[in-house]
């Protein structure tokens, strides 16, 4: 299995297409960082305009942690497309190239072949996220420095101390990795039905877009089912940036307000990974390879 996984990773990282996502992430992150570096104070004034009327904001709110938060909120909507570029190509791309029949005729079980292919696409998604972390978090920390993080919501303002943030980012990136692996497994599932990667890529993005729209619509019909959509749980990483409050209404540093909800979201995503990948393996094992 390890040998097969190495082969699949070798193929993934030998292809020029793989690096499109890394270049795209670099371009987007650099543009956001440049914009904040140039126009950051104006942007902060806009974000904090209601707060500044009633509170004195001390320290440096425009720091690397804040920049990373902005980057994550922006990027995690688009990164699934970049992940689908590779995962949806894993089987369909081989069928399109005509190499799938050669792989199947080798003395390797179809299940092992598919598991190694899925793991390769999942590893790719995680490496892409590490790249986002390097550029979005570590580079932003170097450029903008570190301080507390102001997480302004429509109904509350959460202020996290500078020494209470880094571990939250590690957890958030871990959760985001799981969300991207879920997208990856969906793309992989669609990939077994096609002989061209375009169809599975479009199908994956269509599912994400439709489910995201249904999730955001406050229509009673969808309220009851949206909890089952994996897209509802993909933004669960934000839960790591909320704190518990004590009886006096004071925030307790080092805590997560609703850890069970975050873990539940992670569990639902994991369940989707197993369903999508398991179904792909089950169907592919019974499929005639005609490409």
């Amino acid at each position: 299995m390890w040998s097969l996984l190495k082969i699949e990773l070798f193929k993934v990282f030998k292809r020029p297409r793989t690096y499109i996502a890394f270049i795209a992430v670099w371009a987007i992150v650099s543009l956001i960082q440049l914009a904040i570096y140039v126009d950051g104070p104006k942007y902060m004034d806009f974000v904090l305009k209601d707060i500044k009327d009633n509170f004195d904001v001390i320290g440096n709110p425009l720091n690397g942690y804040f920049v990373c938060f902005v980057i994550l909120q922006t990027l995690l909507i688009h990164v699934p497309l970049l992940v689908a570029l590779v995962s949806a190509d894993m089987i369909a791309g081989e069928a399109n190239m005509g190499t799938l029949r050669l792989l199947i005729s080798k003395p390797v079980s179809r299940t092992k072949l598919l598991v190694s292919k899925f793991l390769a696409s999942a590893i790719y998604a995680v490496i892409l996220l590490i790249w986002i972390a390097i550029l979005g978090l570590f580079l932003s920390m170097i450029i903008f420095g570190t301080d507390g993080l102001i997480n302004a919501k429509s109904y509350e303002i959460i202020i996290l101390n500078g020494n209470d943030i880094f571990w939250r980012y590690l957890c958030a990136f871990g959760f985001a990795a799981l969300a991207l692996v879920t997208v990856s497994s969906l793309g992989f599932f669609f990939s077994i039905f096609a002989e061209n990667s375009l169809g599975p890529i479009v199908a994956t993005m269509s599912v994400i877009i439709v489910f995201t729209i249904l999730t955001t619509l406050d229509i009673p019909l969808f309220q009851s089912v949206k909890d089952y959509f994996f897209t509802s749980h993909m933004i669960g990483w934000k839960g790591f940036f909320e704190m518990k409050v004590d009886a006096d209404g004071m925030a307790i540093p080092g805590t997560i307000r609703n850890l069970p909800a975050v873990l539940r979201s992670a569990g639902i995503l994991l369940l989707h990974v197993f369903i999508f990948t398991g179904s792909a393996i089950f169907i592919f094992n019974r499929k005639d390879v005609l490409s």
């Binding site: 082969i7 193929k11 020029p16 050669l102 199947i104 005729s105 003395p107 390797v108």
Partner: protein, 311 residues
């Protein structure tokens, strides 16, 4: 003789279409076995079933004496194949391609051994070139190297000369003969060209609409008594009259506006032409072909009902 492949009553249906219909045949150790049929006859479907790409609807396949269903891995470990087009990863070099497929077959080779494999198919000088820069013939030869990299006993080649130029076809023919004679491999090679199979195979089968029409050794099927001679003359009427009044009358098969067809032994052809000249008939052309070619021609001509071949 030891059977390497034994196919029994194999059938594959795709909804209403029966691609392979109750097909049985066997390939013996050391054979170059020609698998012949027109496009769509069911050759590729059968080969895909032999390589587990397609699951049979019914029937059984035994390879090396083992059931393919239950011993898939063991069988494929000792089988190499090029299926239809030699599609490989365009972004890899020839050397990387061999390395990758050797690893998939759990075979460890050193650099020299990989280079020897490439040398065998005449690609050692292009070891570091990307596959995307290869011609069709080079890709085909690299495909053969991939099929051989784990030193299998059985090689399955599906239409290996498709898309090749005459030189490429000759190279491929020599390569297949070398596999049999020097490397003692058993080769199953499919083709829709009888002449091609005739030159390389020692045994062959012809299938049509998924059914076996004829199977046997090439020597049996290409019996020298079964030569069909087509004679073009300047005066067809006179020629026909002369032949009908001679001992050749029994061998006359057909007459058309362009020529006369006779079935006779190959060695009788010079005597016939000499005799026709003596009868003052100007011969424009003499074309000899085997009756199996006629038979195959009928099969490959669409919508013709063809009875099983009788030698």
């Amino acid at each position: 003789m030891e059977s390497v492949i034994k196919v029994s009553r194999l059938t594959k249906t795709f909804r209403e279409l029966t691609a392979v219909n109750d097909l049985s045949f066997s390939v013996q150790k050391g054979d170059v076995y020609g698998f012949l049929g027109q496009n769509g006859a069911g050759k590729s479907t059968t080969i895909r079933m032999l390589l587990t790409l397609i699951q049979p609807s019914s029937g059984s396949i035994e390879v090396f004496g083992y059931d393919l269903k239950t011993h898939r891995k063991e069988i494929l470990r000792n089988t190499g194949a090029v299926i239809e087009r030699p599609d490989l990863y365009k972004y890899l070099t020839a050397y990387e391609t061999l390395q990758l497929f050797a690893k998939m077959s759990a075979v460890k080779l050193n650099k020299q051994q990989f280079m020897d494999q490439l040398e065998l198919v005449g690609l050692a000088h292009r070891a570091e070139s990307k596959v995307r820069t290869f011609s069709q013939g080079m890709k085909q030869r690299l495909g053969i190297a991939v099929a051989l990299v784990h030193n299998p006993e059985l090689i399955i080649l599906d239409e290996p000369t498709n898309g090749l130029d005459p030189q490429g076809i000759a190279d491929m023919r020599n390569l297949i003969l070398m596999l049999r004679e020097k490397m003692k491999k058993t080769v199953l090679v499919s083709s829709h060209l009888l002449s091609e199979v005739e030159q390389i195979a020692n045994r062959m089968i012809i299938i049509d609409k998924g059914k076996k029409l004829v199977e046997g050794t090439v020597t049996e099927l290409f019996h020298p008594d079964d030569t069909v001679v087509y004679i073009e003359t300047s005066d067809q009427v006179l020629c026909e009259q002369v032949i009908r009044n001679s001992s050749y009358a029994a061998k006359l098969m057909s007459v058309d506006v362009n020529g006369i067809e006779l079935k006779l032994k190959k060695e009788e052809v010079p005597a016939l032409t000499k005799w026709l000249v003596q009868q003052n008939i100007s011969i424009l052309g003499v074309h000899a072909r085997h009756s199996l070619e006629d038979y195959f021609l009928k099969i490959t001509t669409a919508n013709q009902h063809v009875e099983p071949f009788k030698n």
